[in-house]
């Protein structure tokens, strides 16, 4: 196991004790991930049995939904493919309606290590003003993140632009390994971007006066199955997200009342 450049993962038991009283849920978006979804569920349980797990099945044609249900997870079966944005938003709505206090998003393809939820949790406990914690694959000392150069270039471009827009350093805005508190769940249950949502979501969060922070995590190559982003879609991805970012800059901002630190509702007009 390679060492992380940053501090070692916080002790699991200490983190678990801090969140013991909170209703917590893991949201696992999955599209044809029958090879990995079971392992992801078991690893989340192994980390913390107190996590409820909801698998959002975005129109899989394999046994993803059945496997997850057999393992006792909540399974939200979307009647047709909504894309990752619509799928994870279903998870946030579920979390919002069932009044969960914290939600963690873990991809169903096995690229995130549920054991590292401890890092995300620790960051949120350390600073209660933080509403979202992102796992960043670029804050570790390793340069070994397995992704084609084109995708890495795209990620760094988004990171550069976002950091300028929100005036805070963002190193990995496309990471889908994220922890949300109640306020962030509330916001994203109401409104979440469509196709490639993570980058835009950071900007949305900022506009709604919510705060985010990043912690270093490792990400793995997919454990199996096929990524939803093929090579041909990469260019479209870049252009779509860039457009979304610049449109997002001109979008309606939330109105902040004096003394109201973080509203999640918005009115039209900049």
């Amino acid at each position: 196991v390679a060492e992380l450049a940053e501090a070692p993962a916080p002790p699991r038991d200490a983190v678990l004790a801090q969140i013991a009283g909170l209703r917590r849920i893991a949201i696992v978006p999955a599209l044809n991930e029958e090879q990995t979804v079971g392992r992801v569920i078991e690893e989340i349980r192994a980390f913390d049995p107190g996590f409820d797990i909801v698998v959002v099945d975005d129109g899989s044609t394999d046994r993803t939904a059945g496997l997850a249900a057999d393992l006792g997870a909540h399974v939200l079966r979307l009647p047709f493919n909504l894309g990752i944005g619509g799928a994870v938003q279903t998870g946030y709505r579920f979390a919002f309606e069932r009044a969960y206090d914290i939600a963690v998003q873990v991809d169903g393809d096995g690229q995130h290590d549920p054991g590292e939820i401890a890092r995300l949790e620790a960051a949120m406990r350390k600073d209660p003003s933080v509403d979202m914690v992102c796992g960043s694959r670029f804050m570790t000392g390793e340069r070994a993140y397995p992704a084609p150069i084109s995708r890495r270039t795209g990620i760094h471009l988004f990171a550069f632009l976002l950091s300028r827009f929100i005036r805070e350093r963002v190193s990995d805005p496309t990471s889908g390994f994220r922890l949300y508190n109640r306020r962030a769940i509330d916001l994203f249950a109401r409104d979440y971007p469509h196709d490639y949502p993570e980058v835009e979501a950071v900007l949305m969060l900022h506009h709604h006066r919510l705060r985010m922070t990043e912690v270093p995590v490792r990400m793995y190559s997919r454990g199996g199955g096929v990524s939803s982003i093929g090579a041909g879609k990469s260019a479209y991805y870049m252009i779509k997200v860039l457009l979304a970012l610049f449109v997002g800059l001109a979008r309606a901002r939330p109105v902040v009342e004096p003394g109201d630190r973080a509203p999640v509702t918005a009115e039209h007009g900049i």
Binding site: L78, R93, E97, R190, D260, P263
Partner: protein, 142 residues
């Protein structure tokens, strides 16, 4: 202009007008979308009936060849209609998304209720808080 072509144009636009109205009558076309078509059909009817209209309009905006004015107007009208459709499609896909999400959540709830045996096998079922309707609080200031 030949009178025959004018009669032909009048008949054609009349048929178009009839088709649009008939679609509305049979509830195959909603009034709100029929409106755009009705306006453009009436517009065509005016052009067909009033011979000099096109020439006058072309003169007014400085188009030398009157049929070009017609093409320009038709092109602009079609663009507006298509843009309108894109807006409608966006709204529909948004609504469809929300419906799919609701459906998935209701489906999950139903399956849980219909399979109580499975729940017991995993331990005591957790008490679920009353679901909070998302729409009720939408856009209300905090």
């Amino acid at each position: 202009m030949d009178t025959r072509i004018q009669i032909l144009a009048l008949i054609a636009t009349g048929v178009l007008l009839f088709i649009v109205l008939e679609l509305v009558r049979r509830r195959r076309l909603q009034e709100r979308y029929a409106l755009l078509w009705l306006v453009s059909t009436v517009f065509l009817l005016i052009l067909a009936a009033w011979r000099d209209a096109l020439t006058k309009v072309a003169d007014l905006v400085g188009i030398a060849y009157p049929p070009n004015a017609l093409f320009f107007l038709a092109f602009a009208a079609i663009l507006v209609v298509l843009l309108h459709f894109s807006v409608v499609i966006s709204r529909l896909s948004d609504q469809t998304k929300i419906l799919a999400q609701r459906l998935a959540m209701l489906d999950e709830r139903l399956r849980r209720q219909e399979a109580p045996v499975l729940l017991e096998a995993e331990g005591e079922p957790e008490p679920e808080p009353e679901p909070e309707p998302l729409t009720a609080r939408r856009f209300s200031p905090r």
